[in-house]
């Protein structure tokens, strides 16, 4: 599904990713862990297509298509979703209105007809239950005045409505208390259906107690230096990153 080969990417002239390789198959959950500054968020942003990241070498293939040539909205149309580490506030823009425009934008990209208001609202109702999102947040401006936990739940809620093929979660656990973490993880787990894939970027093993990964990767110095089964995360939690990074060097 997702195939990243020898990816090199720079931000403001500084090379962050240095020959990264990653292979994600349908239905798999991959955790990306690693020390600060190793390039985890850069990887998430390059996949989603944020401006300001210059890819100097390598390729990203998504379902057979070269992803790097596409605009962010086209990538969304192809089925990619990024849950933001810091969800953005958009004053005056109604949360549900935005989501309807997003869903219809994606449907249009795929040559499907727009969803009518009734069907859309039914879909929204159903998905709010998934992450226990207060209905009062639906008609508030996007993320404005939301608590940290509400913002992250809103991300997962949007993901649930947009039903991506690949979801990239960029430190979705940061700033969440344990209850919010469980709710968010529960939402993600319900979206696991054997087809949808996840790339979960995280600092801490804690999240992986709830979202159990198929593979754990350690990202260091812009490369994946070690990959292993879910137990690797526990080992990292106990021993830190130094031994892996040292091994790789």
């Amino acid at each position: 599904m997702l195939s990243i080969n020898n990816l090199h990417a720079s931000v403001a002239g500084k090379e962050i990713l240095r020959g990264l390789n990653l292979e994600v198959k349908p239905g798999e959950v991959h955790a990306i862990m690693g020390p600060n500054g190793s390039g985890k968020s850069t990887l998430a942003n390059v996949i989603a297509g944020r401006d300001g990241y210059e890819v100097t070498a390598g390729e990203v293939i998504f379902n057979g298509k070269p992803l790097l040539e596409l605009a962010p909205e086209e990538r969304a149309g192809e089925g990619i979703f990024l849950a933001f580490q810091y969800p953005v506030e958009i004053p005056g823009v109604n949360n549900v209105y935005m989501l309807k425009a997003a869903l219809n934008g994606i449907r249009k990209y795929r040559g499907e007809s727009e969803l009518d208001a009734v069907k859309f609202l039914n879909l929204v109702k159903q998905k709010t239950r998934l992450v226990e999102l207060k209905e009062s947040l639906l008609n508030r401006p996007v993320n404005e005045g939301f608590s940290g936990g509400e913002k992250k739940r809103n991300e997962i809620f949007q993901m649930a409505v947009l039903e991506p093929k690949l979801a990239v979660l960029d430190e979705t656990d940061s700033g969440l208390d344990i209850d919010a973490l469980r709710i968010v993880a529960n939402g993600v787990n319900q979206l696991r259906d054997g087809e949808r894939s996840f790339v979960v970027v995280t600092h801490y093993q804690r999240l992986l107690d709830y979202i159990v990964p198929d593979v754990v990767h350690v990202l260091a110095g812009g490369r994946i230096v070690k990959s292993g089964p879910k137990e690797l995360a526990l080992e990292l939690e106990q021993r830190g990153y130094d031994w892996v990074v040292g091994q790789a060097a």
């Binding site: 931000v11 403001a12 989603a48 297509g49 944020r50 401006d51 300001g52 605009a71 962010p72 909205e73 990538r75 969304a76 149309g77 979703f81 990024l82 933001f84 969800p87 953005v88 958009i90 004053p91 005056g92 823009v93 935005m98 989501l99 425009a101 997003a102 869903l103 934008g105 994606i106 990209y109 401006p141 949007q158 947009l162």
Partner: protein, 482 residues
């Protein structure tokens, strides 16, 4: 996160859909400004002597005044002698008696602009007065309004049919000597709309005037006077367009509103005069004086404006809060793109006790445009318990445009409460990326953010026009981010 401003400022050609010209036979005064021209305008309209005298007195005052230079605007001096002060589509001596007699070319022009004048095709519940260059060409739904006792007609007709009302209120809010452009208007104004709502009457439909400048080298100097008698209510909308031309055209209008005791006037403007091209050639110079007078207790005047057009906008719709408990409101969206300049805002003058005013101003600048908010809140000694709330926000698209805020506050009563909030923000790459990553195409994402920014103002517009304003903003910003 590095942002790339060159991306934000890359622009494509914007589309001005109202930029066409109607080829129609003109009755036109030669260019020039002098007493003979003023006499000619007055004679064309068969005006009574008192009005000609008022025009000449205004002209005498005008000649002693000089053009104001305090605004944050830059433009070459306007040569008032090169402008023609009267242009009218040729027509039968007495003017059309009904819509059937209106030149089909004119009807076609308004159809093209989306303002059909045939009553059966009209937006339900909106009466329109259409002003083409210097004259009013049609007023719809007059019969229905007359049943309610509402007078809605062209200014010229009001002078003929209701001289006592015109004489009583004309210049009572904006006197001829008020300012340079108001004095010019008082001397040469040609037509405009007149509204009178009788006591305790709620006007049965929205009233609307549609201004169109068509002729070349012509100024438009219309005069609007709205009088809401005690306990009455009216909502009025004004729209404006002009053809695309390389030279600048002058528009210097005066709008006077009078709200007597318990009366309520809501005045909304969607201004889309030709803004000039991407290089800053052409466009309307829009120098307008708008003022409302809350003359009685509990009167309310609310201005809502969406300004997307004109090369230059100089305009400060104001409220004189004379009556006790009277209320003034000003909600404004001013968008400037390319080389457009706007210096706009409001004045709230609190005279009566417990008077309240609200100001919400949203300025948007893209490319090299300059946008200034200029506001005055004046609380006079007698305005016990007066309150004002001002919110003034600017949104920048790109890094070559400018937003400027000039708030003036004068408080001479210690019991008054005045609040002022201001913010300036740039449309952020983060917001854009967030929306795009959700599948929303870039232009839609920009429009969504800008419309969100303007929401507090759009919600004050009558429903049909709020939708129009949304679309207009989208067109005006087309390609502003790319």
């Amino acid at each position: 996160m590095s942002t790339r401003n060159e991306d934000v400022t890359r622009l494509v050609k914007q589309d001005y859909a109202a930029g066409f010209y109607t080829d129609i036979e003109q009755d036109r005064a030669p260019p020039g400004l002098n007493e003979d021209i003023i006499a000619l305008i007055s004679a064309k309209k068969n005006e009574p002597q008192w009005l000609l005298d008022a025009r000449l007195a205004a002209f005498a005052q005008f000649q002693r005044m000089s053009e104001p230079d305090w605004a944050h605007l830059h433009y070459p001096p306007i040569d008032l002698q090169s402008i023609s002060y009267y242009a009218a589509p040729k027509r039968k001596e007495d003017g059309p008696k009904s819509l059937d007699e209106v030149d089909p070319k004119l009807l076609e022009t308004y159809e093209k602009l989306g303002i059909p004048l045939h009553e059966q095709k009209m937006l339900a519940g909106v009466a329109v007065d259409a002003v083409f260059d210097s004259v009013s060409v049609a007023t719809t739904f007059k019969g229905k309004l007359a049943e309610a006792g509402v007078i809605f007609c062209s200014f010229s007709e009001a002078v003929r049919e209701h001289p006592e009302l015109v004489r009583k209120y004309l210049g009572s809010v904006v006197p001829a000597g008020d300012n340079y452009f108001a004095a010019l208007n008082a001397a040469v104004f040609s037509d405009g709309s007149f509204v009178y709502i009788p006591k305790n009457t709620r006007c049965p439909m929205e009233l609307s005037t549609y201004f169109r400048i068509n002729a070349m080298n012509t100024g438009q100097f219309e005069r609007t006077l709205i009088v809401a008698d005690e306990g009455s209510t009216v909502s009025y909308l004004e729209g404006c367009t002009a053809p695309m031309r390389d030279e600048n055209q002058l528009h210097a209008a005066v709008v006077e509103l009078v709200a007597l005791r318990d009366a309520n006037i809501k005045y909304s403007t969607v201004q889309n005069w030709y803004p000039g091209d991407e290089q800053g050639r052409g466009g309307i110079y829009n120098f307008v004086t708008k003022r409302g007078d809350c003359r009685g207790a509990n009167a309310k005047i609310s201005w809502t404006q969406v300004e997307t057009g004109s090369a230059i906008t100089w305009k400060y719709p104001s409220c004189i809060l004379r009556g006790e408990n009277s209320v003034g409101e000003f909600y404004s969206v001013a968008l400037t793109n390319n080389y457009q300049q706007a210096d706009t805002g409001t004045k709230m003058v609190h005279i009566g006790r417990n008077t309240r005013s609200t100001i919400v101003s949203k300025g948007i600048s893209a490319r090299q445009a300059q946008n200034a908010y200029r506001g005055l809140v004046r609380i006079l000694p007698g305005a016990e318990g007066a309150r004002n709330y001002t919110q003034c926000d600017s949104l920048l698209l790109g890094d070559r445009c400018g937003a400027h805020t000039f708030p003036y506050i004068e408080v001479r009563n210690p019991s008054a409460k005045v609040e002022h909030e201001a913010s300036t923000s740039r449309i952020s790459e983060d917001q854009l990326f967030y929306l795009r990553s959700r599948g929303i195409p870039q232009e839609d994402a920009v429009n969504m953010i800008v419309n969100g920014f303007c929401k507090d103002v759009f919600k004050e517009l009558p429903m049909e026009f709020a939708v129009e304003a949304n679309k207009l903003l989208a067109v005006s910003l087309e390609g502003a981010v790319g």
